[in-house]
């Protein structure tokens, strides 16, 4: 029957010739291929010991930034949580008290700031949404752990180390 697309091809299987049926030449050819791989450099990168070089725009673990005076930049506006497509970010805002001016830059700050690293897809939208340049995905690969609850990172893990006074 005529095929509708005119792309139909009749394929025939050619019978094997004597050397193909003998199989030994094919084995020798196969052995030479594997032997050529024997002397190739392994492509392995022994991960925890050595690391693949990341590209400049690699997005890893989040960090909450401090300004030049060591104050936390985040003002708990919630735009990052709103922009997050995976709904990984939650926060609780609090008002800055008197005497805390050296800790927080704005009058409102995040008392609790949690990212669920199992939900996060590392898309970087929180970074883009942040009006205060407070969050960046400039960290390393998120390390492994045993329990799900340990993947909910709080401020203790996210906030940058304080500046050395």
């Amino acid at each position: 029957m005529e095929s509708l697309s005119n792309k139909k091809k009749q394929l025939t299987v050619k019978p094997l010739n004597f050397w193909e049926r003998a199989y030994l030449p094919a084995i020798v050819h196969g052995l030479s291929i594997t032997m050529s791989h024997f002397f190739k450099k392994p492509v392995t990168i022994a991960y925890p010991d050595e690391k693949r070089e990341f590209s400049e725009n690699f997005r890893g673990m989040h960090s909450l930034k401090r300004d030049e005076n060591g104050k936390e930049r985040c003002t708990a506006c919630g735009l990052c949580a709103l922009s997050c497509p995976a709904e990984a970010i939650t926060m609780t805002a609090a008002e800055r008290q008197k005497g805390e001016e050296h800790l927080y830059r704005e009058e409102k700050y995040a008392a609790v700031y949690e990212i669920n690293m199992l939900r996060c897809i590392f898309c970087g939208l929180c970074e883009e949404a942040c009006p205060k340049e407070a969050i960046y995905l400039d960290g390393d690969i998120v390390p492994s752990d045993y329990l799900r609850k340990d993947f909910i990172y709080g401020k203790d893990k996210l906030v940058e180390a304080p500046l050395n006074q």
């Binding site: 196969g30 052995l31 594997t34 791989h37 024997f38 450099k41 392994p42 392995t44």
Partner: protein, 343 residues
Amino acid sequence: MELVDIGIKFALVAVIFGISLVVAMYSTYAERKIAAFFQDRVGPNRAGPFGMFQPLADGAKMFMKEEIIPTNATPFLFIVGPSLAILTACIGSAVIPWGQNLTVGDKVIPLQVTDINVGILYIFGVVSLGVYGVMIGGWASNNKYSLLGAIRAASQNISYEISMGLSIIALLLVTGTLSLGEIAQQQHGWHWNVIYQPVGFILFLVCAFAETNRTPFDLPECETELVGGYHTEYSSMKLGFYLFAEYINMFISSAVMATLYWGGYNYPGMDWVTAHVGPVIGPLIGTGVFFTKIFLFIFFFMWVRWTIPRFRYDQLMDLGWKILIPLAIANIVVTGVWITLAS
């Protein structure tokens, strides 16, 4: 005098036994490392330098594991299976000539446990016993996959023993003796049997792959079809014994191939070397050469394993019965005619 000889024999037996076990142990390491190199990987490299202690760690793991005997298994036979497998694997080394006679003072020490005049037949007997370990183990497990694996092993070994025996007959026409010690001696100089029996060697090699259940003939333990084959139900060191027996078999069959076809401990310029370094070091160099040949064969076994995919069962039987046996018979005829015309 008598007592000293017996002591030397026992020492030799112990040394050969130890060497077979160590070689088998490090074959597992070599296999993983070589597999890695063939696949552009690194292989085990955590336990010790270059992962050298990996076999020890594996062995310790095997001993520590829980020993499970399934409820419906036949307990006695279940234990006999792996024991028989490792036993038959180990006793094959008794007739292999590991080197020329050592001469210490006025004492001549043969580097062969026993040079019985039917050495090849002994090897064949041991090899055919080897399949009982697999069969008994597979049957005693009371598991259909194990049983299928055992049946496959049995029929495969029987089929390939025939062509193996036939390929040996052609070799016997050339050598005129069944003693492995004499066969090794005859190949002194460049009279290696592989030159006279190239077809016979290839047949023997293929059959050796089938007899040791190595890829491309590893159907008895074919994971994709039979879970684990005959050792599906085995755990702990009983499984270890099965795996170990395979590697010892590989070592022994490499030794047999090196002895029968590749000149055993002979190497070019042997007399000159022996004359210069003395009657103790000389034969030991020969032994070293012999082991080099064995290791090259073991490497070849592994090289083939990571090159050729597994045969289908009907292909295996086709190859054994329709190709190898006729070829072996033709080889005997051609060898016979050639010898008759030459003499």
